[in-house]
């Protein structure tokens, strides 16, 4: 109550050497990052990369084992109650009471956060309106579709005007329209100065973040704005497919040593500026042995592949 963590300039979240292990193994192997106020910051990585563990630590649901986490200037361990007051948490599996109505769920949440009376009623009306739930108000949560439950969950998380909103895989299970609505809401929140921190395994979602960190096997493998991250690829990504990718890569390397081709996931990859000029040369160099050549702007997936050597999707198999 006395701590005033809103001092400008302090980061919204600061992590130093954060580690976490389950009895089965290490989930986080020393994370350092800093999230500025009012930005949308994403953790992009494959399932099992440590995102959910990090989310739970930030949501104060897991005890921090090693390192420090500071949220809005307050220490997550020593000032857990203070941190919780300013956190809005959107769980992947909505934390609604399915027996209660939408409005009752919000009321319960308000009481947990010390809200009551007229103030609470006004807040509930406002959130229901904002998320198009007004006509669902008295419907039991269990009767709602997955998308509506998610919307209720977000309305609930925002009820107490959190300054840091945490979302765990918010787009999972949402149809494209609902996804767009979600992002409109997140962008509007940022305008109000709310910091948004989310985890995702969709690179499209990573692209919409102001900054993001790539998380793989408990480590941060890259951090930056989507544009900066993609710049490290140095041009375009050329993918060459053919019956024998290993031989293809070997012969291409022999012919054009400057290309440094690599085999990843059964196709040959090159990173090249002005890649379109290479298409004809490649096909002519190895006649009949190439099925397809594609040239694409680098994606976050390429950055991930570049940094970790395996893909974002189905990472376990490729690893």
């Amino acid at each position: 109550m006395t701590a005033q963590p809103s001092e400008e300039g302090l980061p919204a979240v600061q992590a130093q050497g954060v580690e976490y292990s389950y009895p089965g193994g290490r989930a986080l192997a020393g994370l350092d990052f800093r999230v500025a106020r009012g930005e949308i910051y994403g953790f992009l990585g494959p399932n099992g990369g440590g995102k959910t563990t990090l989310f739970r630590l930030l949501a104060t649901l897991l005890p921090l084992q090693r390192g420090t986490l500071t949220v809005l200037g307050a220490d997550l361990v020593r000032q857990a109650r203070e941190v919780r007051r300013h956190l809005g948490v959107v769980f992947q599996n909505p934390s609604l009471d399915l027996q209660l109505s939408v409005a009752e769920n919000l009321t319960h949440h308000g009481w947990l956060y010390g809200l009551s009376g007229r103030d609470l009623a006004t807040r509930i009306d406002r959130q229901l309106e904002r998320f198009g739930l007004t006509d669902r108000r008295d419907q039991r949560a269990r009767e709602l579709s997955g998308g509506l439950r998610r919307r209720t969950e977000i309305a609930k998380a925002l009820l107490h005007d959190p300054r840091l909103l945490l979302l765990d895989e918010p787009s999972t299970g949402l149809d494209p329209a609902a996804r767009r609505d979600l992002w409109d809401a997140l962008t509007a929140l940022r305008q109000d100065g709310v910091t948004v921190l989310l985890t995702t395994h969709f690179m499209e979602e990573g692209d919409r973040c102001d900054r993001l960190a790539l998380l793989d096997r408990g480590r941060l493998v890259a951090e930056g704005t989507p544009a900066v991250l993609k710049e490290e690829i140095g041009g375009d990504v050329v993918t060459v497919t053919g019956p024998d990718p290993q031989a293809l890569a070997r012969d291409l390397a022999a012919r054009f040593p400057e290309l440094a081709p690599t085999v990843r996931d059964g196709s040959v990859r090159l990173e090249r500026e002005r890649a379109h000029e290479w298409v004809a040369r490649l096909v002519e160099a190895l006649p009949g042995r190439i099925d397809a050549v594609t040239v694409a702007r680098p994606t976050l997936e390429d950055v991930f592949l570049h940094r970790t050597g395996h893909r974002l999707y189905g990472g376990e198999d490729a690893a």
């Binding site: 739970r56 109650r81 909505p94 934390s95 009481w111 010390g114």
Partner: protein, 256 residues
């Protein structure tokens, strides 16, 4: 405080929205009592207390059974809350952990107490001539019992993963616990080893305290029973210990 209130209120709302739970929880002890009590009433002879038939002897024990079942089964909601994800929202809220435990335990205990109190109204059917004062005293004992048992159930439910597992453990544990509480047969006359077990059983003190509230003078079969004061103290101690255990398991932060 509003957090505690909200959690308490929610237990009640949920209970009354699932009417089958109400009937299921209160129904079987009632049947037990009517069938066993009527069936055994002619063959049962309480040592040193003629005139007490089994329907009457068995009545306090049945009350304890009602509260026991209701309290333990109300804590099943903890398993559901964890599985459905509701609990994570509560744990992330700025509510003291003690208030979370208290809200859940008092909510479940209130439900258990309501069922016990409803059954208490059947005392005249059991042939007991009870005063309003002893009814109130019994209601008080039931309240203490309900809180202690719900707190015990909380810690057990927390460490179990599935509702099925909980049922299995509770059947294994609860029925013998109740059988050995003086609810079904008196302490006096039980073999020494059995009597020793019964004295270790916290439920014995619930039954003993309750039995003594129904009779102004010495209760029949009160010989060998722990006194009402001691019984209440022991119940309170069990409740406090269980509450501490609840807090401990909650702080451990096991969610899945």
């Amino acid at each position: 405080m509003t957090g505690l209130w909200s959690l308490w209120r929610r237990e009640l709302v949920r209970f009354f929205r699932q009417p089958s739970r109400v009937a299921g929880a209160a129904g079987s002890p009632l049947l037990f009592w009517l069938l066993l009590g009527s069936g055994l009433s002619s063959s049962f002879r309480l040592p040193g207390a003629a005139g007490v038939d089994y329907l009457e002897y068995f009545y306090p024990g049945t009350l304890v059974l009602v509260v026991l079942f209701a309290a333990i089964f109300s804590t099943i909601s903890i398993i559901e809350d964890r599985r459905e994800g509701f609990l994570q929202g509560v744990l992330a809220a700025p509510v003291s952990r003690a208030a979370i435990v208290a809200g859940k335990v008092l909510g479940g205990a209130t439900l258990a107490w309501l069922q016990g109190a409803a059954f208490l109204l059947l005392a005249p059917v059991a042939g007991l001539h009870v005063s309003v004062a002893s009814l109130l005293a019994a209601a008080g004992v039931l309240a203490l019992l309900a809180v202690a048992l719900t707190a015990l159930g909380f810690a057990c439910a927390w460490s179990v993963d599935s509702v099925q597992g909980f049922h299995a453990i509770m059947n294994l544990l609860l029925v013998p616990l109740w059988l050995l509480s003086g609810a079904v047969f008196p302490l006096t006359g039980a073999p020494v080893w059995l009597a020793a077990l019964m004295r270790l059983n916290p439920l014995t003190y619930g039954v003993a305290a309750l039995r003594q509230t129904f009779y102004v003078a010495a209760a029949p079969a009160a010989d060998g029973l722990p006194g009402a004061g001691v019984s209440l103290l022991i119940l309170a101690a069990v409740g406090a210990l269980a509450f501490a255990a609840d807090l401990l398991v909650l702080r451990r932060g096991r969610l899945e």
